[in-house]
Symmetry: C2
């Protein structure tokens, strides 16, 4: 088998962790007998923006559309480009343009990682956040009136469509139905956000009727965030709007020790367009250039990409290598994991483990 | 001194914790030499709604407007009234109608409470969430089109005004300037929510220029939520929009062990209208009627009310009694604190401690 992969390292630590991700993917290709044709692109970065005045080439759909998957680092360099410009011009445009309407984010306390929660160890935290990834609170509709005066007023629209809501709910219910616990929680805030969120509740309640074998309940986002800290063992599949999914999928990984290990898959389930795999963390300007970023989020995202491509054994092999190295090699842990090693040292150790089986 | 207090217990555990709050307030009045005239009202409850078809009487402004403060329990009983109906018909209307534009929520790990975070003890977590309380994401503007069809589309507007944003920022900067650390963090999501949040950032950055003695920075809500778990000691004053403040002020208290202890003050700083004091927790239908709700959030809200009324010594006395009882009386702790005692036992112990000094 042969797969065409587009690699977009982006900004900051994206440029440090993508090479380690690729190193592990290549090791997996060799070990499991398939071929990866990787092409690297410099766009979706502040550097590209400074040179071209845009974040991506105009023909990005054609450039990227033929790949089997996109392996993405991180984008954002606020000193050079305001975040909303860089993100809407790249990552958010890719998610929407390639209709990657599911953002799948596993939250798992890995063996070898010391979590911050006193009463929870590996095995206690193991769930998925399924985030709506194309609409909702992330809209660019709205504007200002009476600009620059005391009466200045700003409007920003949240947009939910039946198509958009139902398809991500369906994906989440299917996922929940395939897991042993068969439990789904939908995040809401229908007590305060009184139009869009009651609609979200309605659609979720209706979808639940079609999945009688899945136990479904809802939590308001405020109490849900609190319960991630106090009772993370309650959760199995959590489905959320774009914004709530964003918050929960940083908070969940924090409860497992570090967001440096958390992966994500931006999936177009119909496979009409390529899906995009990236760590949950951002470009982290504060630690960029020091070679100490944790590459595990990127590597685990690579494992999710292999899974998506159908290389299930290789995906499992990569994740097993990650867990094994985290557990047995304190000498190669990065600072966020309590160690003193570099990005490269940790990446190389995991790649080595993939190769040696 | 004599103060007129309106007590609105509301629904569920509100009806169980308000009496304990009042018991402690009365003990404080006796001990510190002032008089509380408390009038209790049954509206702002599902029971009232079932009887009258509305959550509050039409003349609620006149009924409540003359009081010095409102002592509120919790509202919400989804079996009888949908949450968005009960909340928009009571609490949210009071906040907006009485222009209580600051929602002040202390997050503090109290002595005697075992927090969920392995590496953080009392003293490590001590900050304020200042939440915008009248506009932002909590709007009732929007609606549906193509209802009931596959094209169904729902819009919900977020509204930010210069007046609304600036006044809550000013309050937060003043508060930060009065604290030893003089540090303010504003919550944002300007990388994803591309119109309202960049505006919030602009106003915050401009306000920061007027408070050069306060060090101000911003965090995106996703990473901010993660840092509440990983590095809560970083925070001093966190100012946030209505929705983000809602989330952070449940998450913060969860990091201090239980949201059962967390208080809040809905403040009209100009004192044109009465301010409203209520615990952060809701009506908790799941444990209502069992007499096991934690009354500390309600009692601490009472201390914030006394502070607001100018009874500073009494406020400090109530909070000291809370801390002392939590630390020294494991026999009266409620289940959420790891004990087996009742709401009444814990309330009575705290009141007793206030009386005996
Ligand atoms: C009940 C709900 C509408 C309310 C809010 O979101 O403001 C509550 O969660 C709070 O924090 O006071
Ligand atoms: C960078 C930002 C726009 C992005 C998002 O909010 O979606 C990120 O936080 C993420 O979670 O992928």
């Amino acid at each position: 088998q042969r797969y065409r992969i587009a690699a977009l390292p982006g900004d900051g630590i994206g440029k440090e962790v993508v090479p380690e991700g690729l190193r592990c993917l290549r090791a997996a290709a060799d070990a499991y007998g398939f071929v990866l044709d990787v092409e690297e692109f410099g766009f979706a970065s502040a550097e590209y923006w400074l040179r071209h005045g845009e974040m991506m080439p105009k023909d990005w759909r054609e450039v990227l559309g033929g790949f089997d998957a996109i392996f993405f680092g991180a984008v954002g360099w606020p000193e050079a480009v305001p975040d909303h410009v860089s993100l809407w011009g790249s990552l958010l445009q890719l998610r929407r343009g390639f209709d990657q309407y599911v953002n799948l984010r596993p939250v798992r306390l890995l063996r070898g990682v010391r979590g911050p929660l006193r009463d929870h160890g590996p095995g206690d935290i193991d769930f998925y956040v399924v985030r709506e990834n194309t609409e909702g609170e992330y809209s660019s509709i709205g504007g200002r009136i009476f600009e620059g005066t005391e009466r200045e007023t700003v409007l920003q629209e949240t947009v939910m469509t039946r198509t958009g809501v139902d398809r991500v709910l369906r994906y989440a219910f299917e996922l929940a139905g395939s897991r042993p616990e068969r439990h789904l929680t939908w995040a809401t805030k229908s007590n305060g956000i009184s139009i869009s969120m009651p609609y979200w509740d309605e659609r979720a309640a209706e979808m639940a009727l079609r999945y009688p074998h899945v136990t479904a309940d809802k939590d308001h986002i405020d109490i849900l965030a609190a319960k991630f800290v106090l009772q993370p063992e309650r959760y199995d599949v959590v489905v959320a709007s774009n914004l709530f999914g964003d918050i929960l999928s940083d908070l969940g990984p924090a409860c497992t020790g570090t967001i440096g290990v958390a992966p994500s898959a931006n999936i177009n389930p119909e496979r009409v367009h390529p899906s995009l795999f990236e760590p949950v963390h951002g470009s982290a300007p504060d630690i960029a250039g020091r070679g100490i970023a944790n590459p595990v989020g990127q590597i685990w995202s690579g494992a999710m990409m292999l899974e998506h491509l159908g290389e299930t054994a290789a995906a499992a092999g990569v994740l097993a290598a990650v867990e094994s190295v985290l557990e047995r090699r304190p000498d190669v842990l990065t600072p966020d994991l309590g160690g003193t090693a570099t990005t490269t040292a940790l990446g190389a150790a995991i790649a080595g483990h993939i190769t040696s089986g």
